[in-house]
């Protein structure tokens, strides 16, 4: 018989989740632990604005066990999202990926200069959402 080692979620990851629940009060924030102290988070749903169809989708990312030192990189949205003006997504937004088993569009935005706090880590989701909205204009 083998026994799985129970690994506690990193307290910084728990803090990020708490911030996300505050920052996205109308969404469900699902967390799936990875067994190493981190895990995948999916915020469902978020509003991308009228420049995208559908306007509402999920936003997800892997929260590394090394938070708050690691970046949260990359982030993902649902693969079905297209621009309403008919144009393709531009870098660093790229189609054809998967996240946690879901077909996904990847947003590859690095943040190497954020302060190492859970609050700053959680803020990345809001910043990336803003970036996606602006990218379609």
């Amino acid at each position: 018989m083998t026994t799985a080692k129970l690994v506690m979620t990193n307290p910084a990851v728990e803090e990020v989740l708490a911030h996300l629940r505050t920052d996205f009060p109308d969404a469900n924030v699902h967390f799936m632990p990875d067994g190493n102290g981190g895990g995948a988070v999916v915020i469902e749903s978020v509003d991308l604005g009228q420049d995208y169809a559908p306007a509402k989708t999920w936003l997800g990312a892997h929260l590394p066990s090394t938070l708050p030192y690691a970046d949260i990189y990359p982030l993902f949205i649902g693969a079905e999202v297209v621009k309403t003006n008919g144009q393709a997504h531009n870098n660093p937004i790229s189609a054809g990926h998967t996240f946690n088993g879901r077909p996904a569009i990847q947003i590859s935005k690095r943040s190497n200069n954020l302060v190492a706090t859970a609050e700053a880590a959680a803020l990345k989701f809001t910043k990336v959402l803003h970036f996606i909205r602006e990218a379609a204009k």
Partner: protein, 462 residues
């Protein structure tokens, strides 16, 4: 009592302590050190995080019999701070001696009288005392389980490491000096003794790390910890010192096994702990804590994160090294650079200087499948050439030697980073950035600096 305490200072705190204890008036003065503490290998290691000076005549008073005492209210305040931060309490005072210092009978009587109570009040944390001469320190440390320990060695981890003992009789000596006859005029017997007792940890024994081994053994180092999870491959055979064609058979020999074999062939008496493991996983980094010197020659962001934290948290002197051959997308050579970076407590922090790739850290914590799913752009292996590694390794070894064995009490902070243009041979020496409030090298409460076991070292997975 066991003589196995290692007491570690930053230059800044040490200078403050010395200025308070020896202001030039030939009286005794006192204060309290708050220290992180850990036990590793055969050492109890104390990292001095803070010095709380006792004000003469108010917090430190002298009786008509000329016996000094630290006042109870000051002790209580210091103990509260120690408990709050999970630190050890060490009361200090000075004697007017130089290269030799010891507690007096009165000192010991006061320890026997007061420390059982202090130990109880400090709730599971060690308490103790240290007495300073101008060039010597002695310690009487009381551990929570009831054991008592004296000083093995004290160090000030600056650009040059200052070594102090209770008396010069405790300084290490090299018994077999003949093989080192030609280097002794430079190192002297104490320097050779320090090398013969030193435990050097090398994280990453690949193309660069493997080049450090033979010179270190021939210098006289006899205790090694080698940490590397990788096996040799045909693509790195050309750069791996000590590798033999037979090592490529099957799945390939572990790099730490090749490194250990090389050391043992030169010095069969060497102690080598070969760990085929990732320093950023589980508790592998614990093997660094009792090191006398660490060389970080692994080039992953997670190794940098963990080792940088250990260097700041446990005051382990470290040099981070690397070479980079930069090739343009059209295949033309852009440049070849080497870096030799000292990471010392409160100085040279890799985090402050943007040398820990945070997206790389995020990647390291993912499964291979997830990394594949996220691939974006084309990954090409970094170019590497054995001769470039050799030049950087040579500088690294000299930096280690200069830092570890050549101090004569020099507490100056010299620029910690050296960048080498390996094509032109030019060298640039720079002072690294230090960010206010850095979680690793900052002095704010709750930071890693000197915190030892009171903080959890960041690792990728447990």
């Amino acid at each position: 009592m066991t003589r196995n305490v290692r007491l570690l200072f930053t230059p800044e705190v040490f200078q403050t302590v010395k200025a308070h204890l020896f202001p030039g008036d030939e009286y005794e003065h006192a204060g309290v050190l708050l220290c992180g503490w850990s036990q590793a290998a055969d050492r109890v290691i104390l990292t001095v995080r803070e010095f709380l000076p006792a004000r003469d005549g108010i917090e430190y008073t002298v009786s008509p019999e000329m016996h000094g005492r630290i006042e109870p209210l000051f002790i209580d305040d210091c103990l509260s701070q120690a408990q709050e931060q999970g630190l050890c309490y060490i009361a200090i005072h000075n004697h007017l001696s130089e290269d030799w210092v010891a507690f007096s009978k009165v000192d010991f009587r006061s320890h026997d009288y007061g420390y059982p109570t202090l130990l109880r009040l400090n709730k599971g944390l060690p308490v103790g005392a240290a007495v300073f001469g101008t060039n010597s320190i002695e310690v009487d440390l009381w551990m929570p389980e009831g054991t008592r320990h004296q000083l093995a060695e004290a160090r000030v981890i600056g650009s040059r490491i200052t070594h102090l003992w209770a008396s010069t009789a405790h300084a290490p000596v090299s018994n077999d000096v003949k093989p080192y006859d030609r280097q002794l005029p430079f190192l002297r017997n104490v320097g050779q003794g320090l090398l013969s007792r030193a435990k050097v940890v090398i994280v990453g024994v690949g193309g660069l790390g493997s080049q450090l081994l033979e010179p270190l053994v021939r210098l006289g180092v006899r205790r090694f910890v080698l940490i590397d999870p990788d096996r040799i491959e045909s693509t790195n055979y050309s750069r791996l010192h000590g590798a033999r064609p037979s090592d490529l058979r099957g799945e390939g020999m572990l790099k730490v096994t090749i490194a250990a074999r090389l050391i043992k062939e030169i010095a069969p008496d060497a102690e080598v702990l070969a760990l085929p493991a990732d320093v950023a996983k589980g508790d592998v980094h614990q093997h660094m804590i009792s090191a006398d010197f660490v060389v970080l020659a692994a080039d992953t962001p997670e190794a940098r994160l963990t080792c940088n934290a250990v260097a700041q948290q446990y005051y382990v002197p470290m040099i981070q090294v690397g070479t980079k051959v930069q090739v343009r997308p059209d295949g033309r050579l852009e440049g070849v650079f080497g870096a030799v970076r000292h990471v010392r407590p409160g100085d040279g922090c890799l985090w402050c200087n943007g040398l820990i790739d945070r997206a790389g850290l995020a990647n390291a914590a993912k499964t291979k499948d997830q990394r594949e799913a996220e691939k974006y752009g084309v990954d090409t292996p970094n170019p590497a050439v054995v001769t470039f590694n050799a030049e950087v390794a040579g500088r690294t070894l000299n930096e280690l030697l200069l830092a570890y064995v050549t101090s004569s009490g020099d507490l100056t902070r010299y620029p910690a980073y050296m960048l080498i243009d390996l094509l032109s041979g030019e060298r640039e020496v720079i002072s690294p950035t230090k960010e206010v409030g850095c979680p690793f090298c900052g002095t704010q409460a709750g930071g890693f600096l000197g915190a030892s076991n009171s903080r959890r070292t960041p690792v990728v997975s447990t």
